[in-house]
C-alpha cells in the first residue's frame, strides 16, 4: 500500500493529536530555529556598525530569549508526537490482532509466534515513527523557501553556492533506494530469527533441560545473533553514510561561502552579521538535509515494515491495517455478549461432501472426504498417525481453509465455516489445548458472563470436580504460562469444560485419550449422552469411543478407506482390524479384558 494512503488513514484517526504533532514539529524544528539567525545577523550588524555601535544589542538579546522560550513551549506541545505513537501503535496492533483472529485458527500467522511478536514490536514502532515524520517534508520545504528568500535578498550568488550541494544530496540518496530496502529487509529477517529462536527455546525449556542441550541451543543463538549483527551493521552504517554525506556537503557549503565571501568581506560588501546568518542557516540546513537523507531512507524502510505487518494479516486488503476503530485507551471497556440462542437453526443433519485440504509444501492433508451426520449421533474418526484426522476436523471447522468441497448444515451450504462453526452451533476441544496465563475460571469462561452460563454443569460434564478440590484456589487458581501449573490431564479437562460451558449443537473432540483415563473417559461419554439430542464428532482410537459410535470413519493417507459401524468394519476393513487389534494384539474372541501375564508377541 502506498505510504501516503497509510499516513492519511492514520492521520485522520486522531486529527487533534496529529495536528498538535505537526505544530510542535514544524515550529520547534523548522520555523523557530530560523529566527535566531536573523536576530544574530542584526545583532552583529548593529555591533559592527560604527553609527549605532551596539546600541540595540539588548533588544536583540531579549528577542533571542523570547524566541527561545517560544521554542521551548512548542517542544512541550510536541509531546503530542510520542502520544500519537502510543495511540497509533494501539490501533495497528489491534487491527492486526483482529485479522489474525479472523483467519482460520490453525494457520493464523505465517511465522512463529516469537517472530510475530517482533513484528508487533519493531514494525509497528517503525510505522508510528514515520507517521510523525510526515511533517518533516513540509517543514523542510517551508524552511528552505524562507531561508532562500532571506539569503537571496542578501547575496544571490552565495545563496546558489549554498543550495547547490543540498540538491545534490537529494539526487544521490534517491539513487540508493533499492539497496536500503534490501539491507532493511535482511535486517528485519535476522531480528525475526533471533526472537523466534528465543521464543522457541523458552517454550521448550523442559525438553532442552532434559536433554542437557542448554549450551548447544545457546550456541545456535550465537550463530543467529552474529548474522543479525552483520545485517544490522550494514543497515545502520549505510544509513549513517548517507547522512554523513549530506552533512559533509553542507560543511563544504560553508567552505564555499568562505571562499566566495572572502573578497567581499574584505571590501565591506558582506558584513560579519551576514556571514553569521549564512553559517547559522547552513548548520540548520545541514541538519535538515540530513533529515532529507534519513527521510528518504525511512520512506523505503517503512515499506518493508508495512509489508511485514500486512503479511502477518494474510490475504486481507492492506487498508485493513489502518482501518479506524475504537481502541478503548480510556473510558469504559466494551461489554461482552453472551452466546446467542440457536433458535431455528438447531442441527438436523450435517453433510460433508468431497472435502479436501492440502498442506502447502508437504503434499499432505485430506482428500475428497464425504460423510453425513444426523443429529443426535456420534461419529468417530480413526486412523494411524499422519492419516489426516486432525486435518479433517480442522478443515470442517474452518480452522483450515478447505481447498475444495462442501459442508451443508441442514442442507444449507456453509460458505465461511470458520465464522459458522462457533458456539452456539459447535464447540471444540483441540488435541493440544492452549490455556492462557489467567485464572482457571477466566480460561474456561473466556469472557462469557458467568451468570449467563452453567459453569458448575460444564465442570461436571468435563469430570473436573476432583481437580477443583486439589487445586490451590480452585477456580481462581492461576494456571501459569500456557496452563503449565496444571497437569496435562487437567489442561485437557479444562479445555473440555471450556467447550461444555458453551451451548452447542455439535461437540467436537480431538483425541481425549492421551489425557483421560478410561474410567474418566467413560464418565465423560455418559455425561455427554445425558445432554438431550447431542451430536458429537470424535477423533479417537480408543475402544469406549469406537464401541459407542453410530458411525466410524477410517482414514488412511488422507482418504476415507472405510466407513460404517464397528461390527461391520471389523469384518470388512483390514485397516480397522489393524487399528482395533494393534492395541490388544492377541485377542481373537473380542474379549478385551486381557491379563498382563499373557504373552504378547512382539511385532
Amino acid at each position: 500500500m502506498s505510504p501516503w494512503l497509510l499516513i492519511r488513514s492514520l492521520a485522520t484517526f486522531h486529527r487533534w493529536l496529529f495536528f498538535a504533532t505537526g505544530f510542535g514539529v514544524l515550529m520547534s524544528a523548522y520555523i523557530l530555529p530560523l529566527a535566531p539567525g536573523l536576530i544574530i545577523q542584526r545583532f552583529f550588524n548593529d555591533l559592527s556598525d560604527n553609527a549605532s555601535a551596539g546600541a540595540n544589542s539588548w533588544t536583540f538579546l531579549t528577542l533571542l530569549v523570547a524566541v527561545g522560550t517560544a521554542r521551548s513551549v512548542t517542544i512541550v506541545v510536541g509531546v503530542a508526537e510520542p502520544v500519537l505513537h502510543i495511540v497509533v501503535g494501539a490501533l495497528l496492533r489491534k487491527n492486526i490482532l483482529r485479522r489474525i483472529l479472523d483467519h482460520p485458527g490453525a494457520r493464523s500467522v505465517p511465522v512463529s509466534a516469537g517472530e510475530a511478536v517482533s513484528r508487533f514490536r519493531d514494525d509497528v514502532q517503525a510505522v508510528c515513527m514515520f507517521l510523525a515524520w510526515t511533517f518533516d517534508p513540509i517543514g523542510q520545504v517551508t524552511m528552505l523557501m524562507l531561508s532562500l528568500i532571506v539569503l537571496i535578498t542578501i547575496d544571490p550568488l552565495l545563496t546558489i553556492g549554498v543550495f547547490l550541494p543540498l540538491l545534490a544530496i537529494v539526487a544521490l540518496v534517491s539513487q540508493t533506494g533499492k539497496r536500503i530496502e534490501r539491507f532493511r529487509k535482511a535486517n528485519q529477517e535476522a531480528i525475526g530469527n533471533v526472537t523466534g529462536l528465543l521464543g522457541e527455546m523458552f517454550g521448550a525449556v523442559q525438553a532442552v533441560k532434559a536433554t542437557g542441550a542448554e549450551s548447544r541451543v545457546v550456541n545456535h543463538l550465537r550463530t543467529v545473533n552474529d548474522a543479525r549483527r552483520t545485517a544490522t551493521l550494514r543497515d545502520t552504517v549505510f544509513k549513517e553514510f548517507l547522512q554523513s554525506v549530506s552533512t559533509n556537503l553542507a560543511n563544504i557549503g560553508i567552505g564555499l561561502i568562505l571562499l566566495l565571501a572572502a573578497g567581499k568581506i574584505r571590501q565591506g560588501e558582506f558584513t560579519v552579521g551576514d556571514f553569521a546568518l549564512f553559517v547559522s542557516y547552513l548548520s540548520g540546513l545541514s541538519v535538515a538535509a540530513g533529515f532529507v537523507g534519513l527521510y528518504l531512507t525511512q520512506w523505503r524502510q517503512i515499506g518493508v515494515s508495512v509489508d511485514r505487518l500486512i503479511a502477518l494479516m494474510q490475504d486481507v486488503p492492506a487498508s485493513q491495517l489502518v482501518a479506524h476503530g475504537p481502541i478503548h485507551l480510556r473510558g469504559p471497556l466494551p461489554e461482552l455478549d453472551p452466546v446467542p440462542l440457536i433458535g431455528e437453526d438447531a442441527l438436523r443433519t450435517l453433510e460433508v461432501r468431497d472435502l479436501s485440504y492440502c498442506y502447502p509444501g508437504t503434499g499432505r492433508g485430506v482428500d475428497g472426504v464425504s460423510f453425513t451426520m444426523p443429529s443426535g449421533t456420534m461419529t468417530v474418526i480413526t486412523g494411524r498417525i499422519g492419516a489426516g484426522k486432525t486435518t479433517l476436523v480442522r478443515t470442517l471447522l474452518g480452522l483450515l481453509l478447505p481447498d475444495s468441497g462442501e459442508i451443508r448444515w441442514n442442507g444449507r451450504p456453509i460458505n465461511r465455516p470458520d465464522a459458522f462453526f462457533v458456539p452456539p452451533r459447535s464447540a471444540y476441544t483441540p488435541q493440544s489445548p492452549r490455556l492462557f496465563s489467567e485464572s482457571l475460571r477466566d480460561n474456561i469462561l473466556l469472557g462469557l458472563p458467568e451468570d449467563s452460563v452453567d459453569l458448575p454443569g460444564a465442570l461436571h460434564a468435563a469430570v473436573m470436580e476432583r481437580d477443583l478440590e486439589t487445586l490451590d484456589g480452585g477456580l481462581d487458581a492461576k494456571v501459569g504460562v500456557r496452563g503449565v501449573k496444571l497437569s496435562g490431564g487437567q489442561v485437557q479437562r479444562s479445555a473440555t469444560a471450556r467447550m461444555f460451558v458453551r451451548p452447542a449443537e455439535l461437540y467436537v473432540f480431538d483425541d481425549l485419550s492421551s489425557a483421560l483415563d478410561v474410567d474418566t473417559e467413560r464418565i465423560l461419554w455418559d455425561r455427554l449422552f445425558e445432554r438431550p439430542g447431542v451430536t458429537s464428532l470424535v477423533i479417537s482410537h480408543r475402544r469406549p469411543a469406537l464401541q459407542r459410535a453410530d458411525q466410524i470413519i477410517v482414514l488412511d493417507g488422507g482418504r476415507v478407506v472405510a466407513q460404517g459401524r464397528l461390527s461391520d468394519l471389523l469384518r470388512t476393513s483390514p485397516e480397522m482390524r489393524r487399528l482395533w487389534h494393534g492395541e490388544y494384539d492377541v485377542e481373537a474372541d473380542g474379549d478385551d479384558s486381557i491379563l498382563p501375564s499373557q504373552p504378547q508377541p512382539s511385532c
Binding site: P36, A53, G54, S57, L64, G68, T69, I75, V76, V79, V83, R93, I100, L101, P104, S118, R121, L198, F202, V208, A210, G212, R216, V218, H220, L221, R228, L233, E240, N251, I254, A262, V272, R384, I385, T390, V422, G447, D472, G480, V481, S487, G488, V491, R498, L516, D517, D519, H541, R542, E575, R578, W580, E583, D585, S593, I594, P596, S602, C603
Partner: protein
C-alpha cells in the same frame, strides 16, 4: 527498578573487556573527532578577523580550504566511529543476549512456570537492545562531550574569564537539571517497559492459541483483554514521555539563556574596546558549539534513563539464582543405574504436597511401570528424577549417589525423558533431532529414523536432514512429532530411560510398529514407564501403583497381576486400558 553504579560497571567490564582493542580504537576516534570540532570555530575566527583586517586573498582562501578539509576529515572519522561503535555495541549486546538466554535456560522450572516466553523474549532481546547504545557510546560519548564542554569553557575563559564563568555556570546548571529529571524519568520508563513486556507476552500467548480462541468464539474477549493491556501500557508510557519532553524543553531554554547572556557579556567587552568583532563571533560560535555537547549529553542521559531501567531489569534477571545447581560433581558409575527414592515428599511451591513419603528401590536394568489415576503424582516422580525440582524432604539417589551431589549435566546426560509434549524448532530436521549437537553423524540419525519406522517420512523430506521444519511443527502431525522425540533419545544412548505417556498420541497400529524400537531402547537399561496401554506396561518387571501422591502398591508385575486382591489386578479388571494418563506433559 534502579541500577547501582556497580551494575553499570560490572556490565561494561564483562562485555567490553573481550573487545579491549576495538573499544580503545573507538575511544580514540571519538576523542579525535571531538578535538577537531573545537578547531573549526577557531578557523572561522581567524578568517573573520583577517578578512576585516584586509589580509591577502590567498591566505583567506587557504583558511577556507583548511576549513573544508577539517569538515571532511571529521565526517570520515565519524563514519569510521559509527561502524566501530555499532560493532562493539552489537558484539557486547549479543554476548549479553546469549549469556542471559543461557542463564534463563538454567533457571528452575518453577521460574519458567511463571514467565511467558513472550515476556522473556522482551527481557532477553528488548531490554538488551536498549543497552546497545550504552555499551558502544555512552561512556565515551559522555566523556567526549564533557571534554568538549570543558574545552569550550577553557577557550572562552582565555578570551575572557567572565564569559568562561557565565557559560560554565549555564552548562553546569543544564547538566544538573537533566540529572535531576533523569531520576524520575528512569522510574517511569521502567514501569512503561514492564507493561510493554506484559503486552508482548499477552500477544505471544494468544497468537499461539488462535485455534482455541477461534473455535470457542472468544475473539471479542481476547480483543477486550488486548484493550486492557494496551491501556495499561498507554498510561505508563504517556507518563514517562511527558516528563522526558518537559526535561528536553527545559534544557533547550537553558541553552538559549546561556547564549544570550554570553553575547551580552561579549557586547559589553566589545563596546569597552577589550575585544574584536571576530572574538564576539567566536563567542557566538562556541556557545552554539556548546549547545551540541550539552544537548548530546542530555540526549545520552535520556537514553541512559531508558538504559538504566533496562540494566535494572537485566541485573534483576541475572540475580535470580537457580535453586537447582550442580552438586560437588560426584561421578555416576558407568552402565545402567539403580534408583532409590527415600521418604521423598514434594509439593510445587506452597501448594499441597503432590508426593508424600515416597520410598522405593529400582535395581539396574529393571523396568518399572508406574500406574495410577491422573493427578496421583506419577509425572512428578519423573520430574524429580531429572532434577527439575528438589524434594522438600527425603532424598533421591541414582546409582547410590544423591542427585544433589551430582553435576546436572551428568544426570541429564545419563537420564533421558520422553513425554508426549514435543516442541520443534524452526531449524533443520537434523538440528531438531540432535538438538543442535553437530557431532552426531548423519548415518546415526538416519539409522535411528529407520529403526523407528520413519523411513518414508525421511524419504519424503525434500532436502533430507537439511529440510527446515516450521516452528510449532506445521506439516508434522502430533504422532510423528512423538516419534521424533523417540529419535532424539535413540541418538543420545542414555543409561536410564523415562517414558512418560510417550506413546499416548500414537494410534495402536503405529504403536505396535514402535514396540520393537522401544524394546531396543529399553534393553540393558533401567527404565520407568508411565503408560495407559497394556502393551507398554507389559515390559515392566515391577509395577508401582500410585494414589493421591502415595505409593499404594509396589511389587513384581506378574505376581501382582495374578493376585486378585491387588490394586493392580483391580485396575486391570476395571478398565480396558490400564491406567490413566496424564499428569503434565510439559
Amino acid at each position: 527498578m534502579g541500577a547501582s553504579p556497580r551494575d553499570y560497571w560490572r556490565l561494561l567490564a564483562d562485555y567490553l573487556k573481550p573487545q579491549r582493542g576495538r573499544a580503545t580504537l573507538l575511544a580514540l576516534l571519538l576523542l579525535t573527532g571531538t578535538g577537531f570540532q573545537l578547531v573549526s570555530p577557531l578557523v572561522l575566527r581567524q578568517f573573520i578577523d583577517r578578512a576585516l583586517e584586509g589580509e591577502p586573498l590567498r591566505i583567506l582562501l587557504l583558511i577556507a580550504g583548511l576549513y573544508i578539509g577539517f569538515a571532511i576529515l571529521i565526517q570520515v572519522i565519524k563514519l569510521f566511529e559509527t561502524w566501530t561503535a555499532e560493532y562493539v555495541g552489537w558484539t557486547a549486546t549479543n554476548n549479553l543476549r546469549a549469556d542471559l538466554a543461557q542463564h534463563v535456560l538454567d533457571l528452575d522450572m518453577s521460574f519458567h512456570n511463571q514467565h511467558t516466553p513472550g515476556s522473556l523474549i522482551e527481557r532477553v532481546d528488548g531490554d538488551v537492545f536498549l543497552l546497545g547504545n550504552f555499551f558502544s557510546r555512552f561512556i565515551i560519548n559522555v566523556l567526549g562531550n564533557l571534554l568538549l564542554t570543558i574545552g569550550v569553557i577553557v577557550l572562552l575563559t582565555r578570551v575572557d574569564w567572565r564569559i568562561g564563568l557565565t557559560i560554565g555556570l549555564f552548562a553546569a546548571i543544564t547538566i544538573a537539571a537533566m540529572m535531576a529529571f533523569g531520576r524520575f524519568t528512569t522510574e517511569r520508563f521502567a514501569a512503561s517497559r514492564q507493561s510493554h513486556a506484559d503486552l508482548m507476552g499477552f500477544l505471544e500467548e494468544r497468537i499461539s492459541g488462535t485455534e482455541d480462541i477461534r473455535s470457542t468464539g472468544a475473539t471479542a474477549y481476547v480483543m477486550r483483554r488486548n484493550d486492557e493491556f494496551a491501556r495499561e501500557y498507554s498510561r505508563k508510557q504517556t507518563s514517562a514521555v511527558l516528563l522526558s519532553t518537559f526535561s528536553f524543553s527545559t534544557s533547550q531554554l537553558l541553552a538559549v539563556l546561556g547564549m544570550a547572556v554570553s553575547l551580552g557579556v561579549g557586547t559589553v567587552l566589545y563596546r569597552d574596546g577589550e575585544t574584536t568583532l571576530g572574538t564576539v563571533f567566536v563567542i557566538f560560535q562556541f556557545t552554539q558549539l556548546l549547545m551540541q555537547p550539552v544537548e548530546e549529553i542530555s540526549r545520552q542521559l535520556r537514553d541512559f534513563q531508558q538504559a538504566t531501567a533496562s540494566i535494572g531489569r537485566v541485573r534483576a534477571l541475572q540475580r535470580i539464582e537457580p535453586a537447582i545447581t550442580d552438586g560437588p560433581g560426584e561421578p555416576l558409575q558407568p552402565g545402567p543405574l539403580a534408583v532409590d527414592f527415600d521418604h521423598v515428599t514434594f509439593g510445587y511451591g506452597a501448594d499441597e504436597p503432590v508426593l508424600r513419603d515416597i520410598t522405593f528401590h529400582l535395581g539396574p536394568r529393571r523396568v518399572l511401570g508406574v500406574v495410577g489415576r491422573t493427578g496421583s503424582g506419577k509425572s512428578t516422580i519423573t520430574r524429580l528424577l531429572c532434577r527439575f525440582y528438589d524434594p522438600g524432604h527425603g532424598s533421591i539417589r541414582l546409582g547410590n549417589v544423591d542427585l544433589r551431589d551430582c553435576a546436572l549435566a551428568d544426570i541429564r546426560d545419563r537420564v533421558a525423558l520422553v513425554t508426549q509434549e514435543i516442541q520443534l524448532f524452526r531449524a533443520t530436521v537434523r538440528d531438531n533431532l540432535t538438538l543442535f549437537d553437530h557431532s552426531i553423524p548423519n548415518e546415526r540419525i538416519i539409522d535411528a529414523l529407520h529403526r523407528l519406522g520413519l523411513e518414508e517420512w525421511h524419504a519424503s523430506l525434500p532436502e533430507g536432514l537439511d529440510t527446515m521444519l516450521d516452528s510449532g511443527g506445521g506439516g508434522v502431525s502430533a504422532g510423528e512429532a512423538q516419534l521424533l522425540a523417540f529419535t532424539r533419545v535413540f541418538l543420545r544412548d542414555p543409561d536410564f530411560v523415562i517414558l512418560d505417556e510417550a506413546s499416548s498420541r500414537l494410534d495402536p497400529a503405529t504403536e505396535a510398529q514402535l514396540e520393537r524400537a522401544i524394546d531396543a531402547l529399553l534393553a540393558g537399561r533401567t527404565a520407568i514407564v508411565i503408560a495407559h496401554r497394556l502393551a507398554t506396561i507389559e515390559r515392566a518387571d515391577e509395577v508401582l501403583v500410585m494414589a493421591n501422591g502415595r505409593i499404594v502398591e509396589h511389587g513384581d508385575r506378574v505376581s501382582l497381576a495374578n493376585d486378585s486382591n491387588s490394586r493392580f489386578a483391580e485396575l486391570i479388571r476395571s478398565g480396558h486400558d490400564l491406567v490413566s494418563s496424564a499428569e503434565g506433559k510439559r
